[in-house]
Protein backbone atom coordinates (compact mmCIF):
# COMPACT_ATOMS: atom_id res chain seq x y z
CA UNK A 1 0.00 0.00 0.00
CA UNK A 2 2.79 2.36 0.93
CA UNK A 3 4.54 1.54 -2.33
CA UNK A 4 1.42 2.38 -4.29
CA UNK A 5 1.08 5.72 -2.54
CA UNK A 6 4.64 6.54 -3.37
CA UNK A 7 3.96 5.54 -6.95
CA UNK A 8 1.06 7.96 -7.14
CA UNK A 9 3.11 10.89 -6.04
CA UNK A 10 5.84 10.10 -8.52
CA UNK A 11 3.64 9.08 -11.40
CA UNK A 12 4.93 11.75 -13.67
CA UNK A 13 8.48 12.28 -12.53
CA UNK A 14 10.96 11.51 -15.29
CA UNK A 15 13.83 9.16 -14.59
CA UNK A 16 17.23 8.95 -16.19
CA UNK A 17 15.74 6.81 -18.97
CA UNK A 18 13.38 9.58 -20.05
CA UNK A 19 16.09 12.21 -20.16
CA UNK A 20 18.40 9.77 -21.91
CA UNK A 21 15.82 8.98 -24.58
CA UNK A 22 15.05 12.65 -25.14
CA UNK A 23 18.72 13.51 -25.36
CA UNK A 24 19.12 10.79 -27.99
CA UNK A 25 16.22 12.26 -29.97
CA UNK A 26 17.76 15.71 -29.70
CA UNK A 27 21.12 14.46 -30.93
CA UNK A 28 19.45 12.67 -33.83
CA UNK A 29 17.57 15.88 -34.70
CA UNK A 30 20.70 17.99 -34.74
CA UNK A 31 23.11 15.43 -36.16
CA UNK A 32 22.37 16.06 -39.88
CA UNK A 33 23.09 19.77 -39.36
CA UNK A 34 26.37 19.07 -37.66
CA UNK A 35 27.35 16.45 -40.18
CA UNK A 36 26.71 18.79 -43.10
CA UNK A 37 28.78 21.40 -41.31
CA UNK A 38 31.60 18.84 -41.00
CA UNK A 39 31.43 17.99 -44.70
CA UNK A 40 30.87 21.61 -45.65
CA UNK A 41 34.02 22.65 -43.81
CA UNK A 42 36.14 19.99 -45.48
CA UNK A 43 37.09 19.49 -49.11
CA UNK A 44 35.78 17.33 -51.94
CA UNK A 45 37.27 14.16 -50.40
CA UNK A 46 35.78 14.53 -46.91
CA UNK A 47 32.41 13.05 -47.85
CA UNK A 48 34.12 9.89 -49.06
CA UNK A 49 36.05 9.40 -45.83
CA UNK A 50 34.02 7.53 -43.22
CA UNK A 51 36.85 7.98 -40.73
CA UNK A 52 36.75 11.74 -41.09
CA UNK A 53 37.46 13.88 -38.09
CA UNK A 54 34.50 14.85 -35.91
CA UNK A 55 35.99 18.26 -35.48
CA UNK A 56 35.23 20.63 -38.35
CA UNK A 57 38.06 21.44 -40.73
CA UNK A 58 38.71 25.06 -41.61
CA UNK A 59 37.25 25.42 -45.11
CA UNK A 60 33.67 26.35 -44.35
CA UNK A 61 33.92 30.05 -45.20
CA UNK A 62 35.88 29.33 -48.32
CA UNK A 63 33.28 26.78 -49.46
CA UNK A 64 30.44 29.09 -48.51
CA UNK A 65 31.87 31.95 -50.52
CA UNK A 66 32.41 29.66 -53.52
CA UNK A 67 28.71 28.76 -53.37
CA UNK A 68 27.65 32.37 -52.88
CA UNK A 69 29.74 33.54 -55.80
CA UNK A 70 28.81 30.72 -58.17
CA UNK A 71 27.00 32.25 -61.14
CA UNK A 72 24.82 29.22 -61.73
CA UNK A 73 23.46 29.23 -58.18
CA UNK A 74 22.43 32.89 -57.82
CA UNK A 75 22.59 32.63 -54.05
CA UNK A 76 21.79 36.23 -53.07
CA UNK A 77 18.98 36.43 -55.56
CA UNK A 78 17.57 33.15 -54.26
CA UNK A 79 17.78 34.36 -50.67
CA UNK A 80 16.11 37.67 -51.54
CA UNK A 81 13.41 35.90 -53.56
CA UNK A 82 12.70 33.45 -50.75
CA UNK A 83 12.38 36.34 -48.30
CA UNK A 84 10.08 38.28 -50.62
CA UNK A 85 7.86 35.32 -51.44
CA UNK A 86 7.60 33.95 -47.90
CA UNK A 87 6.96 37.35 -46.31
CA UNK A 88 4.37 38.45 -48.88
CA UNK A 89 2.53 35.17 -48.82
CA UNK A 90 2.50 35.02 -45.02
CA UNK A 91 1.18 38.57 -44.66
CA UNK A 92 -1.61 38.13 -47.20
CA UNK A 93 -2.52 34.72 -45.84
CA UNK A 94 -2.86 36.09 -42.31
CA UNK A 95 -4.88 39.15 -43.37
CA UNK A 96 -7.23 37.38 -45.76
CA UNK A 97 -7.66 34.33 -43.50
CA UNK A 98 -8.49 36.55 -40.53
CA UNK A 99 -11.13 38.39 -42.54
CA UNK A 100 -12.69 35.19 -43.84
CA UNK A 101 -12.37 33.42 -40.51
CA UNK A 102 -14.13 36.30 -38.77
CA UNK A 103 -17.00 36.10 -41.23
CA UNK A 104 -17.35 32.34 -40.85
CA UNK A 105 -17.00 32.32 -37.07
CA UNK A 106 -18.96 35.37 -36.02
CA UNK A 107 -21.21 36.72 -38.78
CA UNK A 108 -24.49 35.29 -39.95
CA UNK A 109 -25.02 35.13 -43.68
CA UNK A 110 -26.79 32.97 -46.20
CA UNK A 111 -24.77 30.00 -47.37
CA UNK A 112 -22.11 30.27 -44.69
CA UNK A 113 -22.37 26.60 -43.74
CA UNK A 114 -22.04 25.38 -47.30
CA UNK A 115 -19.22 27.76 -48.10
CA UNK A 116 -17.29 26.68 -45.00
CA UNK A 117 -17.61 23.05 -46.04
CA UNK A 118 -16.22 24.13 -49.42
CA UNK A 119 -13.21 25.61 -47.60
CA UNK A 120 -12.59 22.35 -45.73
CA UNK A 121 -13.02 20.30 -48.90
CA UNK A 122 -10.35 22.32 -50.69
CA UNK A 123 -7.83 21.36 -48.01
CA UNK A 124 -7.86 17.77 -49.28
CA UNK A 125 -7.12 18.75 -52.89
CA UNK A 126 -3.48 18.04 -53.78
CA UNK A 127 -1.47 20.80 -55.54
CA UNK A 128 -0.68 18.36 -58.30
CA UNK A 129 -4.26 18.59 -59.50
CA UNK A 130 -3.98 22.23 -60.54
CA UNK A 131 -0.37 22.46 -61.59
CA UNK A 132 -0.65 21.65 -65.31
CA UNK A 133 -3.25 24.29 -66.26
CA UNK A 134 -1.70 26.78 -63.84
CA UNK A 135 1.55 26.41 -65.75
CA UNK A 136 -0.27 26.79 -69.06
CA UNK A 137 -2.00 29.94 -67.85
CA UNK A 138 1.23 31.40 -66.45
CA UNK A 139 3.13 30.77 -69.65
CA UNK A 140 0.31 32.21 -71.75
CA UNK A 141 0.58 35.49 -69.81
CA UNK A 142 4.37 35.36 -69.69
CA UNK A 143 4.55 34.93 -65.91
CA UNK A 144 6.69 31.82 -65.85
CA UNK A 145 10.02 32.67 -64.28
CA UNK A 146 8.57 35.57 -62.29
CA UNK A 147 7.87 35.60 -58.57
CA UNK A 148 4.22 36.47 -59.24
CA UNK A 149 3.76 32.93 -60.49
CA UNK A 150 4.75 31.65 -57.05
CA UNK A 151 3.04 34.33 -54.98
CA UNK A 152 -0.42 34.56 -56.52
CA UNK A 153 -1.56 30.95 -56.06
CA UNK A 154 -0.37 31.12 -52.43
CA UNK A 155 -2.01 34.42 -51.41
CA UNK A 156 -4.42 32.68 -49.05
CA UNK A 157 -4.90 29.07 -48.02
CA UNK A 158 -7.89 27.01 -46.97
CA UNK A 159 -5.92 25.90 -43.94
CA UNK A 160 -5.50 29.54 -42.89
CA UNK A 161 -9.22 30.24 -43.13
CA UNK A 162 -10.00 27.04 -41.24
CA UNK A 163 -7.42 27.85 -38.55
CA UNK A 164 -8.68 31.39 -37.93
CA UNK A 165 -12.32 30.31 -37.96
CA UNK A 166 -11.63 27.66 -35.33
CA UNK A 167 -9.74 30.09 -33.16
CA UNK A 168 -12.35 32.83 -33.31
CA UNK A 169 -15.22 30.46 -32.66
CA UNK A 170 -13.59 29.50 -29.39
CA UNK A 171 -11.78 32.60 -28.21
CA UNK A 172 -13.68 35.62 -29.46
CA UNK A 173 -16.79 36.38 -27.34
CA UNK A 174 -19.77 37.33 -29.47
CA UNK A 175 -20.84 39.79 -26.74
CA UNK A 176 -17.78 41.92 -27.47
CA UNK A 177 -18.80 42.23 -31.10
CA UNK A 178 -22.40 43.02 -30.19
CA UNK A 179 -21.26 45.66 -27.73
CA UNK A 180 -19.17 47.34 -30.40
CA UNK A 181 -22.11 47.23 -32.81
CA UNK A 182 -24.43 48.78 -30.22
CA UNK A 183 -21.87 51.52 -29.67
CA UNK A 184 -22.26 52.37 -33.33
CA UNK A 185 -19.21 50.75 -34.90
CA UNK A 186 -19.80 49.68 -38.46
CA UNK A 187 -18.79 46.18 -39.56
CA UNK A 188 -15.22 46.83 -40.60
CA UNK A 189 -14.48 48.99 -37.56
CA UNK A 190 -15.85 46.25 -35.31
CA UNK A 191 -13.58 43.79 -37.06
CA UNK A 192 -10.60 46.07 -36.71
CA UNK A 193 -11.07 47.13 -33.09
CA UNK A 194 -12.54 43.97 -31.57
CA UNK A 195 -11.55 40.94 -33.63
CA UNK A 196 -8.04 41.86 -34.74
CA UNK A 197 -6.60 42.54 -31.25
CA UNK A 198 -8.19 39.36 -29.91
CA UNK A 199 -6.76 37.03 -32.56
CA UNK A 200 -3.14 38.19 -32.46
CA UNK A 201 -1.73 34.94 -31.01
CA UNK A 202 -3.42 32.77 -33.63
CA UNK A 203 -2.44 35.19 -36.38
CA UNK A 204 1.20 35.08 -35.28
CA UNK A 205 1.20 31.29 -35.39
CA UNK A 206 -0.45 31.24 -38.81
CA UNK A 207 2.21 33.66 -40.02
CA UNK A 208 5.00 31.37 -38.80
CA UNK A 209 3.54 28.19 -40.28
CA UNK A 210 2.88 29.88 -43.60
CA UNK A 211 6.40 31.32 -43.62
CA UNK A 212 8.09 27.98 -42.93
CA UNK A 213 5.91 26.20 -45.46
CA UNK A 214 6.51 28.79 -48.15
CA UNK A 215 10.26 28.90 -47.46
CA UNK A 216 10.53 25.13 -47.88
CA UNK A 217 8.15 24.82 -50.82
CA UNK A 218 9.79 23.16 -53.80
CA UNK A 219 7.39 21.48 -56.25
CA UNK A 220 5.62 24.45 -57.82
CA UNK A 221 8.56 26.92 -57.72
CA UNK A 222 10.72 24.21 -59.28
CA UNK A 223 8.20 23.90 -62.14
CA UNK A 224 7.55 27.56 -62.78
CA UNK A 225 10.84 29.31 -61.91
CA UNK A 226 14.13 28.91 -63.70
CA UNK A 227 17.64 29.05 -62.32
CA UNK A 228 18.16 32.70 -63.23
CA UNK A 229 15.46 33.76 -60.76
CA UNK A 230 15.16 30.97 -58.18
CA UNK A 231 13.98 30.58 -54.60
CA UNK A 232 16.39 28.84 -52.22
CA UNK A 233 15.13 25.27 -52.69
CA UNK A 234 15.31 25.71 -56.47
CA UNK A 235 18.83 27.12 -56.13
CA UNK A 236 19.80 24.08 -54.04
CA UNK A 237 18.62 21.77 -56.78
CA UNK A 238 20.81 23.70 -59.24
CA UNK A 239 23.71 23.51 -56.78
CA UNK A 240 23.35 19.75 -56.59
CA UNK A 241 23.15 19.40 -60.36
CA UNK A 242 26.21 21.58 -61.01
CA UNK A 243 28.51 20.70 -58.10
CA UNK A 244 27.65 17.11 -57.26
CA UNK A 245 31.29 16.11 -57.60
CA UNK A 246 32.21 18.31 -54.63
CA UNK A 247 29.86 17.69 -51.77
CA UNK A 248 31.71 20.03 -49.45
CA UNK A 249 30.26 22.82 -51.62
CA UNK A 250 26.79 21.28 -51.86
CA UNK A 251 26.49 20.80 -48.10
CA UNK A 252 27.95 24.23 -47.34
CA UNK A 253 25.17 25.60 -49.56
CA UNK A 254 22.58 23.43 -47.81
CA UNK A 255 23.65 24.91 -44.51
CA UNK A 256 23.55 28.48 -45.83
CA UNK A 257 19.99 27.91 -47.06
CA UNK A 258 18.93 26.41 -43.73
CA UNK A 259 20.45 28.97 -41.37
CA UNK A 260 17.80 31.71 -41.86
CA UNK A 261 15.00 29.43 -40.70
CA UNK A 262 17.12 28.11 -37.84
CA UNK A 263 17.56 31.68 -36.62
CA UNK A 264 13.83 32.26 -36.97
CA UNK A 265 13.28 29.04 -35.04
CA UNK A 266 15.46 30.14 -32.14
CA UNK A 267 13.22 33.17 -31.63
CA UNK A 268 9.82 31.70 -32.53
CA UNK A 269 10.15 27.97 -31.87
CA UNK A 270 8.17 28.40 -28.67
CA UNK A 271 5.21 29.76 -30.63
CA UNK A 272 5.50 27.00 -33.24
CA UNK A 273 5.38 24.40 -30.47
CA UNK A 274 2.30 25.87 -28.84
CA UNK A 275 0.69 26.39 -32.27
CA UNK A 276 1.09 22.73 -33.15
CA UNK A 277 -0.20 21.63 -29.78
CA UNK A 278 -3.17 24.02 -29.87
CA UNK A 279 -4.07 22.94 -33.39
CA UNK A 280 -3.99 19.32 -32.33
CA UNK A 281 -6.49 19.76 -29.53
CA UNK A 282 -8.95 21.43 -31.87
CA UNK A 283 -8.28 19.05 -34.77
Amino acid sequence: MAIKRKGMVNLNRPGIFVYGALAAVLIASLFPFYWSFLIGSGDSTTVRDPNMSWIPLGNFFENASTVINADAVNFWKALGNSLIVSTTVSVTTVVLSTLAGYAFAKLRFKGSGGLFIAVIATMAVPVQLGVVPLYIIMSRYGWTGSLWAVIIPALVTAFGVFWMTQYMEQSLPTELIEAARVDGCNMIRTFWHVAVPAVRPAAAMLFLFTFVQSWNNFFWPFIVLDQSNPTLPVALSVLQASYFVDYSLVLAGVLLATVPLLILFVFTGRQLVSGIMAGAVKG
Binding site: S29, L99, A103, L115, V131, V132, P133, W215
Partner: protein, 317 residues
Protein backbone atom coordinates in the same frame (compact mmCIF):
# COMPACT_ATOMS: atom_id res chain seq x y z
CA UNK B 1 -39.96 74.46 -34.87
CA UNK B 2 -40.32 71.06 -33.42
CA UNK B 3 -41.62 69.66 -36.71
CA UNK B 4 -38.78 71.09 -38.77
CA UNK B 5 -36.32 69.51 -36.44
CA UNK B 6 -37.96 66.14 -36.23
CA UNK B 7 -38.81 65.71 -39.89
CA UNK B 8 -35.36 65.48 -41.46
CA UNK B 9 -34.33 62.94 -38.88
CA UNK B 10 -36.38 60.01 -40.08
CA UNK B 11 -34.97 60.60 -43.55
CA UNK B 12 -31.45 60.62 -42.17
CA UNK B 13 -32.19 57.53 -40.15
CA UNK B 14 -33.45 55.55 -43.10
CA UNK B 15 -30.42 56.48 -45.14
CA UNK B 16 -28.07 55.46 -42.38
CA UNK B 17 -30.27 52.53 -41.63
CA UNK B 18 -30.07 51.33 -45.21
CA UNK B 19 -26.35 51.79 -45.28
CA UNK B 20 -26.10 49.89 -42.01
CA UNK B 21 -28.23 47.09 -43.29
CA UNK B 22 -26.23 46.88 -46.49
CA UNK B 23 -23.10 46.86 -44.36
CA UNK B 24 -24.41 43.95 -42.26
CA UNK B 25 -25.55 41.99 -45.28
CA UNK B 26 -22.66 42.55 -47.64
CA UNK B 27 -19.71 42.58 -45.24
CA UNK B 28 -19.51 38.82 -44.65
CA UNK B 29 -19.37 38.20 -48.39
CA UNK B 30 -16.73 40.87 -48.86
CA UNK B 31 -14.62 39.29 -46.12
CA UNK B 32 -14.69 35.82 -47.58
CA UNK B 33 -14.47 37.01 -51.19
CA UNK B 34 -10.63 37.19 -51.39
CA UNK B 35 -10.27 33.56 -50.39
CA UNK B 36 -12.84 32.38 -52.89
CA UNK B 37 -11.47 34.58 -55.68
CA UNK B 38 -7.93 33.30 -55.16
CA UNK B 39 -9.17 29.75 -54.80
CA UNK B 40 -11.44 30.09 -57.82
CA UNK B 41 -8.66 31.41 -60.05
CA UNK B 42 -5.75 29.28 -58.84
CA UNK B 43 -7.59 26.25 -57.46
CA UNK B 44 -11.02 25.48 -58.79
CA UNK B 45 -10.55 26.71 -62.36
CA UNK B 46 -7.26 24.81 -62.85
CA UNK B 47 -8.81 21.64 -61.39
CA UNK B 48 -11.63 21.75 -63.93
CA UNK B 49 -9.14 22.70 -66.63
CA UNK B 50 -7.00 19.71 -65.62
CA UNK B 51 -9.98 17.48 -66.23
CA UNK B 52 -10.48 19.02 -69.68
CA UNK B 53 -6.80 18.77 -70.62
CA UNK B 54 -6.64 15.16 -69.47
CA UNK B 55 -8.92 14.29 -72.41
CA UNK B 56 -6.77 16.20 -74.89
CA UNK B 57 -3.61 15.90 -76.87
CA UNK B 58 -2.13 19.18 -75.65
CA UNK B 59 0.24 21.12 -77.90
CA UNK B 60 2.48 22.87 -75.40
CA UNK B 61 3.99 25.24 -77.98
CA UNK B 62 0.75 26.59 -79.41
CA UNK B 63 -1.07 26.10 -76.10
CA UNK B 64 -4.08 24.43 -77.65
CA UNK B 65 -5.40 20.91 -77.49
CA UNK B 66 -7.19 18.36 -79.59
CA UNK B 67 -9.87 16.16 -78.07
CA UNK B 68 -8.72 12.59 -77.60
CA UNK B 69 -11.22 10.91 -75.31
CA UNK B 70 -9.87 8.40 -72.80
CA UNK B 71 -6.57 7.85 -74.64
CA UNK B 72 -4.39 9.56 -72.02
CA UNK B 73 -5.88 7.56 -69.19
CA UNK B 74 -5.59 4.38 -71.22
CA UNK B 75 -1.96 5.11 -72.02
CA UNK B 76 -1.08 5.86 -68.41
CA UNK B 77 -2.89 2.82 -67.05
CA UNK B 78 -1.08 0.63 -69.57
CA UNK B 79 2.29 2.18 -68.82
CA UNK B 80 4.52 -0.03 -66.68
CA UNK B 81 6.09 3.09 -65.15
CA UNK B 82 2.77 4.16 -63.69
CA UNK B 83 2.42 0.91 -61.77
CA UNK B 84 6.05 1.00 -60.66
CA UNK B 85 5.49 4.57 -59.45
CA UNK B 86 2.32 3.50 -57.64
CA UNK B 87 4.15 0.64 -55.94
CA UNK B 88 7.02 2.93 -54.92
CA UNK B 89 4.69 5.62 -53.63
CA UNK B 90 2.79 3.16 -51.43
CA UNK B 91 5.95 1.47 -50.24
CA UNK B 92 7.63 4.76 -49.28
CA UNK B 93 4.40 5.90 -47.68
CA UNK B 94 4.08 2.78 -45.52
CA UNK B 95 7.76 2.87 -44.55
CA UNK B 96 7.40 6.47 -43.47
CA UNK B 97 3.98 6.60 -41.83
CA UNK B 98 4.02 3.43 -39.70
CA UNK B 99 7.38 3.98 -37.94
CA UNK B 100 6.59 7.69 -37.80
CA UNK B 101 3.45 7.23 -35.72
CA UNK B 102 5.06 4.62 -33.47
CA UNK B 103 8.21 6.64 -32.77
CA UNK B 104 6.24 9.87 -32.41
CA UNK B 105 3.99 8.20 -29.82
CA UNK B 106 7.05 7.03 -27.93
CA UNK B 107 8.64 10.50 -27.96
CA UNK B 108 5.35 12.07 -26.93
CA UNK B 109 5.19 9.69 -23.97
CA UNK B 110 8.71 10.78 -22.98
CA UNK B 111 7.74 14.43 -23.27
CA UNK B 112 4.61 13.81 -21.20
CA UNK B 113 6.51 13.98 -17.91
CA UNK B 114 7.21 16.74 -15.44
CA UNK B 115 10.37 17.62 -17.30
CA UNK B 116 12.87 20.25 -16.39
CA UNK B 117 13.34 22.74 -19.25
CA UNK B 118 10.11 21.52 -20.83
CA UNK B 119 10.12 24.05 -23.66
CA UNK B 120 13.72 23.24 -24.53
CA UNK B 121 12.92 19.56 -25.15
CA UNK B 122 9.78 20.36 -27.08
CA UNK B 123 11.62 22.80 -29.32
CA UNK B 124 14.43 20.30 -29.68
CA UNK B 125 12.25 17.64 -31.26
CA UNK B 126 10.73 20.23 -33.61
CA UNK B 127 14.01 21.50 -35.13
CA UNK B 128 13.94 19.17 -38.16
CA UNK B 129 10.51 20.48 -39.14
CA UNK B 130 11.92 23.87 -40.20
CA UNK B 131 14.42 22.23 -42.50
CA UNK B 132 13.75 22.20 -46.24
CA UNK B 133 12.89 18.76 -47.58
CA UNK B 134 15.33 19.51 -50.39
CA UNK B 135 18.11 20.17 -47.88
CA UNK B 136 17.25 17.06 -45.87
CA UNK B 137 17.32 15.03 -49.07
CA UNK B 138 20.75 16.35 -50.06
CA UNK B 139 22.18 15.49 -46.64
CA UNK B 140 20.54 12.07 -46.30
CA UNK B 141 21.38 10.98 -49.83
CA UNK B 142 25.04 11.32 -48.78
CA UNK B 143 24.57 9.70 -45.37
CA UNK B 144 23.00 6.81 -47.29
CA UNK B 145 25.84 6.76 -49.83
CA UNK B 146 26.36 3.29 -51.31
CA UNK B 147 30.15 3.18 -51.15
CA UNK B 148 31.33 5.78 -48.68
CA UNK B 149 28.17 6.62 -46.76
CA UNK B 150 28.29 6.95 -43.00
CA UNK B 151 25.29 4.66 -42.46
CA UNK B 152 26.94 1.80 -44.35
CA UNK B 153 30.12 2.49 -42.42
CA UNK B 154 28.26 2.16 -39.12
CA UNK B 155 26.33 -0.88 -40.28
CA UNK B 156 29.70 -2.42 -41.09
CA UNK B 157 30.57 -2.38 -37.39
CA UNK B 158 27.66 -4.66 -36.60
CA UNK B 159 28.47 -6.92 -39.52
CA UNK B 160 25.85 -5.79 -42.01
CA UNK B 161 27.41 -5.65 -45.46
CA UNK B 162 27.25 -2.48 -47.51
CA UNK B 163 23.66 -1.89 -48.59
CA UNK B 164 23.07 -0.56 -52.11
CA UNK B 165 20.79 2.30 -51.05
CA UNK B 166 20.77 3.82 -54.53
CA UNK B 167 20.32 0.57 -56.43
CA UNK B 168 18.04 -1.81 -54.56
CA UNK B 169 14.34 -1.04 -54.40
CA UNK B 170 13.47 -1.44 -50.73
CA UNK B 171 16.69 0.12 -49.36
CA UNK B 172 16.11 3.21 -51.53
CA UNK B 173 12.59 3.42 -50.13
CA UNK B 174 13.91 3.10 -46.58
CA UNK B 175 16.42 5.91 -47.20
CA UNK B 176 13.73 8.21 -48.64
CA UNK B 177 11.24 7.30 -45.91
CA UNK B 178 13.84 8.13 -43.28
CA UNK B 179 14.02 11.69 -44.68
CA UNK B 180 10.28 12.06 -44.29
CA UNK B 181 10.42 10.57 -40.81
CA UNK B 182 13.26 12.87 -39.81
CA UNK B 183 11.20 15.94 -40.67
CA UNK B 184 7.83 14.88 -39.30
CA UNK B 185 8.36 12.68 -36.23
CA UNK B 186 8.88 15.60 -33.86
CA UNK B 187 5.96 17.54 -35.30
CA UNK B 188 3.62 14.57 -34.85
CA UNK B 189 5.05 13.87 -31.40
CA UNK B 190 3.90 17.33 -30.32
CA UNK B 191 0.39 16.71 -31.68
CA UNK B 192 0.23 13.42 -29.78
CA UNK B 193 1.69 15.09 -26.70
CA UNK B 194 -1.17 17.60 -26.74
CA UNK B 195 -3.62 14.70 -26.85
CA UNK B 196 -1.83 13.00 -23.95
CA UNK B 197 -1.93 16.11 -21.83
CA UNK B 198 -5.67 16.34 -22.33
CA UNK B 199 -6.10 12.96 -20.61
CA UNK B 200 -7.48 13.48 -17.09
CA UNK B 201 -4.75 12.68 -14.57
CA UNK B 202 -7.27 10.88 -12.35
CA UNK B 203 -7.38 8.08 -14.91
CA UNK B 204 -3.68 7.42 -14.31
CA UNK B 205 -4.09 7.67 -10.56
CA UNK B 206 -7.01 5.27 -10.62
CA UNK B 207 -5.01 2.86 -12.74
CA UNK B 208 -2.05 3.16 -10.37
CA UNK B 209 -4.27 2.42 -7.37
CA UNK B 210 -5.51 -0.64 -9.22
CA UNK B 211 -1.89 -1.71 -9.39
CA UNK B 212 -1.10 -0.88 -13.02
CA UNK B 213 2.59 -0.30 -13.68
CA UNK B 214 4.07 2.27 -16.00
CA UNK B 215 3.88 0.10 -19.13
CA UNK B 216 0.39 -1.06 -18.30
CA UNK B 217 -0.81 2.51 -17.78
CA UNK B 218 0.65 3.47 -21.15
CA UNK B 219 -1.08 0.66 -23.03
CA UNK B 220 -4.38 0.71 -21.14
CA UNK B 221 -4.87 4.42 -20.49
CA UNK B 222 -2.70 6.50 -22.80
CA UNK B 223 -3.08 4.61 -26.07
CA UNK B 224 -6.89 4.28 -26.10
CA UNK B 225 -7.21 7.93 -25.12
CA UNK B 226 -5.02 9.28 -27.90
CA UNK B 227 -6.44 7.01 -30.60
CA UNK B 228 -8.56 9.68 -32.36
CA UNK B 229 -5.57 12.00 -32.53
CA UNK B 230 -3.35 9.19 -33.78
CA UNK B 231 -5.84 8.53 -36.56
CA UNK B 232 -5.92 12.23 -37.40
CA UNK B 233 -2.12 12.13 -37.70
CA UNK B 234 -2.33 9.07 -39.93
CA UNK B 235 -4.89 10.68 -42.25
CA UNK B 236 -2.94 13.91 -42.67
CA UNK B 237 0.24 11.96 -43.30
CA UNK B 238 -1.63 9.94 -45.95
CA UNK B 239 -2.62 13.04 -47.89
CA UNK B 240 0.93 14.39 -47.75
CA UNK B 241 2.73 11.06 -48.10
CA UNK B 242 1.05 10.00 -51.34
CA UNK B 243 2.13 13.28 -52.98
CA UNK B 244 5.82 12.85 -52.16
CA UNK B 245 8.17 14.54 -54.64
CA UNK B 246 11.01 16.59 -53.09
CA UNK B 247 12.90 13.79 -51.34
CA UNK B 248 12.90 11.18 -54.12
CA UNK B 249 13.56 13.88 -56.72
CA UNK B 250 16.74 14.98 -54.91
CA UNK B 251 17.84 11.46 -53.93
CA UNK B 252 20.31 11.36 -56.83
CA UNK B 253 21.67 13.95 -59.22
CA UNK B 254 19.61 12.91 -62.25
CA UNK B 255 16.25 13.21 -60.51
CA UNK B 256 14.64 10.57 -62.72
CA UNK B 257 13.85 8.10 -59.95
CA UNK B 258 16.81 5.80 -60.48
CA UNK B 259 18.10 3.82 -63.47
CA UNK B 260 15.31 1.26 -63.12
CA UNK B 261 12.77 3.70 -61.62
CA UNK B 262 13.40 2.15 -58.21
CA UNK B 263 12.19 5.27 -56.41
CA UNK B 264 10.04 6.94 -59.06
CA UNK B 265 6.88 8.23 -57.35
CA UNK B 266 3.54 9.23 -58.91
CA UNK B 267 4.25 12.95 -58.64
CA UNK B 268 7.72 12.46 -60.16
CA UNK B 269 6.16 10.42 -62.95
CA UNK B 270 3.71 13.24 -63.51
CA UNK B 271 6.51 15.84 -63.53
CA UNK B 272 8.60 13.81 -65.97
CA UNK B 273 5.62 13.32 -68.26
CA UNK B 274 4.55 16.97 -68.16
CA UNK B 275 7.82 18.87 -68.05
CA UNK B 276 10.23 16.21 -69.29
CA UNK B 277 8.27 14.96 -72.30
CA UNK B 278 6.05 18.07 -72.51
CA UNK B 279 2.97 15.87 -72.63
CA UNK B 280 0.53 17.91 -70.59
CA UNK B 281 -2.49 15.80 -71.50
CA UNK B 282 -0.98 12.70 -69.94
CA UNK B 283 0.37 14.67 -66.97
CA UNK B 284 -3.17 15.95 -66.33
CA UNK B 285 -4.51 12.40 -66.49
CA UNK B 286 -1.87 11.30 -63.95
CA UNK B 287 -2.86 14.19 -61.68
CA UNK B 288 -6.47 13.05 -61.71
CA UNK B 289 -5.51 9.44 -61.05
CA UNK B 290 -3.39 10.59 -58.10
CA UNK B 291 -6.30 12.61 -56.74
CA UNK B 292 -8.64 9.62 -57.03
CA UNK B 293 -6.10 7.43 -55.22
CA UNK B 294 -5.77 9.95 -52.40
CA UNK B 295 -9.55 10.30 -52.20
CA UNK B 296 -10.06 6.52 -52.10
CA UNK B 297 -7.40 6.19 -49.44
CA UNK B 298 -8.83 9.06 -47.43
CA UNK B 299 -12.33 7.54 -47.53
CA UNK B 300 -10.94 4.15 -46.56
CA UNK B 301 -9.19 5.79 -43.63
CA UNK B 302 -12.33 7.63 -42.65
CA UNK B 303 -14.38 4.43 -42.77
CA UNK B 304 -11.78 2.57 -40.71
CA UNK B 305 -11.65 5.44 -38.23
CA UNK B 306 -15.39 5.44 -37.68
CA UNK B 307 -15.44 1.68 -37.25
CA UNK B 308 -12.56 1.80 -34.80
CA UNK B 309 -14.07 4.58 -32.76
CA UNK B 310 -17.58 3.20 -32.67
CA UNK B 311 -16.31 -0.26 -31.70
CA UNK B 312 -14.39 1.36 -28.88
CA UNK B 313 -16.64 1.72 -25.87
CA UNK B 314 -13.94 2.78 -23.45
CA UNK B 315 -14.85 6.36 -24.17
CA UNK B 316 -12.19 7.89 -26.35
CA UNK B 317 -13.66 11.22 -27.29
Amino acid sequence: MATTEVEPRPAQYTWRDRLGRWDVKASPYLYIAPFFIVFGLTGLFPIIYTAVISFMDWDSIRNTGEFLGWDNFQYVLNDRQFWIALRNTFSIFLLSSVPQVIIATFIAAMLDHNLRARTFWRMGVLVPYVMMPVAVALIFSQLFGDTYGLINHWLGYIGIGPIAWHIDVIPSHIAIASMVNFRWIGYNALILLAAMQAIPRELYEAAAIDGAGKARRFFSVTLPQIRPTAIFVIITSTIGGLQIFDEPRMFDTTGTGGPDKQWLTITMYMYNTGWGQLNFGRAAAIAWLLFLIILAFGLLNFWLTRRLISSDTSGSK
